[in-house]
Amino acid sequence: MAGIRADVEASPGTVFKDVINAPVLSVKDMSVSIKTDNGIVRAVRGVSFSLSQGKTLAIVGESGSGKTMTCKGIIGLLPPGGVIDNGTVTLCGLDVTRAHEKTMRQVRGFNVSMIFQDPLTSLNPTTPIGRQIEEMMVLHRPDMNESARKARVFEMLDLVGISNPAERIRQYPHQFSGGMRQRVMIAIALTLSPKLLIADEPTTALDVTIQAQILELMNDIQRKTNTAIVIITHNLGVVASVADHVAVMYGGRIIEEGGVENIFYSRKHPYTQGLLDSVPKINRAKERLFSIPGSPPDLVNPPEGCPFAARCGSRMRVCGSYVPPIMEFGGGHSAACWLYDKRATAPPSAVSATPMLS
């Protein structure tokens, strides 16, 4: 491992500082905006977090909360019209926001790689999977010859639990099941032992039993390789089984952040409460499944103040006008909510996501 990192440090155009104790990823006050036909979408509005080696951060939130754009900003693959317009992203010591595209290409795949939601469509249908794995080494490890590359492909297939690799490498994606294709994606992503793996809803498109296997595999690989993982999901079951740390996003902001226990057992933000209430419970009598009324804010004209204010059951007058400050609760647990301000009138025990009828 150390050897691999050493040769990238020597390669031109890439500058990496010593990263022994520094976090693998550190995001400070990042904002992302995307120019569209309907105006400028403020997809991410001042997000900060950091992640160290071997840890898993889950970013949770509903569609359009900015979680995917946060990750695409990190690896510099924002859609056309998208830019990071504020803040810094430091990845293995490299400031992504200021790095040249050529440098970013060397970082992508080598220091950070990404797996996507739908394994059925994220592999090239006309290329054998062996070559798709090998391509990582063709791109980033010119020092490896063909037999070394092939050995590594076999090793990776073995790692992700695909048997009979000699035959499998010549097959095409359509000859694999969904779960197997996601294993191939994981193999591709981890071929060069990246410091950081970003998984964008890696299990959403898979059926439930396969989901568990894939999560188990990711946990397992993390133990072996000490890779840091950012996992994007809206499935709280996934969060519980893989994450160390959770960031809840809403309207382009992180509204609550903390350890898994904090989020599940002592959540502070009414939105987090609403999310947890919307999880179907198997031991409850037949009743309508809870859902948070209303819809997420329009990020072309983001609301002033707390983005959740319009849907919040504990809304106070201040919420609609001022962005709530981040309140610390100790142990890395924090939430951006006015309820925890000393001056708040409603007692925090009354946290509820259901709007009061007025």
């Binding site: 690896i75 693959l77 970013m104 290409r105 060397q106 970082v107 992508r108 795949g109 080598f110 790689s113 990404m114 996507f116 939601q117 739908d118 469509t121 994220s122 592999l123 090239n124 249908p125 006309t126 290329t127 054998p128 391509e135 990582m136 791109l139 980033h140 097959q171 095409y172 359509h174 000859q175 994606m185 591709i188």
Partner: protein, 313 residues
């Protein structure tokens, strides 16, 4: 694969038989006989009847047809009436060269330029190259090639005197007809490749490719192009068949002694054996092109299997 190809070749024989029968009937409905043209007038009715007898044209149509089929199975296409004593195969062979040369030059140039334009247009979607490509595509499809041919003759040939205006004497004579023919394949391939590449570029595996850290060029060539190619290959079959077998208007305008002009002459002259020979050649070539397209699918897209048992897994 072999089974598939031989089955397709058998179907081809059936199709050809139908085409031969139909053409033979239609040809017999054409007014006149091969020997009632002005230049045969001096022969007088008795000599004309003798000629008709000599070629078996006095027999009932069905026995003429059976005789033709019999000869065809022996590989004998007959001799031309218009060029006496020249076997049809000979006549065809002497005229195919110019058509094939013009056609293949037009296809190669048209595809090379058209496909590159299409890819760049899709990659720089809504950029200036995209608009240029669309304008060229619309013009190429809507402006008839004989208009382009006339413009080329006037400006390049006459006014600027860069290239010969017409006739068939050297390779330079083939340039203008090829360019005139090129615009149609150029336009349609540019449009198809653009649409397909746009579609492919929005696919998830392109994002995967980018996340691997490859350059845009490698992404386009290795991952986008091949997937965008399949629908283009579909239009390629008929396109090649049409162009290689000659374009009537272009050959006429540039006085190219090609197979297209031969076809027109043979119909005007009621030269039955040549009409039949050309029809068989055109149809066989067309069907073969389509078969080749189907086979090339499997080379481009592994998901497509030609044999009936689909997945090779």
């Amino acid at each position: 694969m072999t089974a598939y190809v031989s089955r397709r070749l058998a179907y081809m024989m059936v199709t050809l038989f139908a085409i031969v029968t139909l053409t033979f009937c239609l040809m017999k409905i054409l007014p006149g006989t091969p020997f009632d043209e002005e230049r045969f007038m001096s022969l007088g009715p008795a000599r004309q009847a003798a000629l008709m007898r000599q070629y078996g044209l006095d027999q009932p149509v069905h026995s003429q047809f059976l005789r033709y089929l019999g000869n065809l199975f022996r590989g004998d296409l007959g001799t031309s009436y218009f060029y006496p004593d020249r076997p049809v195969l000979d006549v065809l062979r002497s005229r195919i060269g110019p058509s094939a040369l013009i056609g293949s030059q037009a296809i190669l140039m048209g595809l090379a330029v058209g496909m590159s334009m299409g890819i760049v247009a899709a990659w720089r979607h809504n950029g200036s190259m995209d608009y240029i490509t669309m304008v060229v595509a619309v013009l190429g499809v809507s402006v008839p090639n004989f208009v382009v041919a006339a413009l080329l003759q006037y400006y390049v040939g006459l006014r600027w005197g860069i290239l010969p205006v017409a006739f068939w004497k050297s390779w330079a004579h083939s340039v203008l007809p090829s360019v005139a023919l090129m615009f149609s394949p150029l336009a349609s391939s540019a449009r198809f490749v653009r649409t397909e590449t746009l579609d492919v570029l929005s696919q998830d595996y392109i994002q995967t490719a980018r996340s691997k850290g490859m350059s845009e060029r490698r992404m386009l060539v290795r991952h986008a192009l091949r997937n965008a190619l399949l629908p283009v290959v579909t239009i390629l079959g008929p396109m090649i068949a049409n162009l290689l077998t000659g374009s009537l208007a272009i050959e006429k305008i540039f006085s190219v002694p090609g197979i297209g002009s031969l076809f027109v002459e043979s119909i005007q002259n009621n030269d039955y054996p040549v009409i039949m020979g050309l029809t068989i050649f055109f149809s066989a070539f067309y069907i073969l092109c389509i078969l080749l397209v189907d086979i090339s699918y499997t080379l481009i897209d592994p998901r497509i299997r030609l044999s009936k048992g689909s997945e090779g897994d």
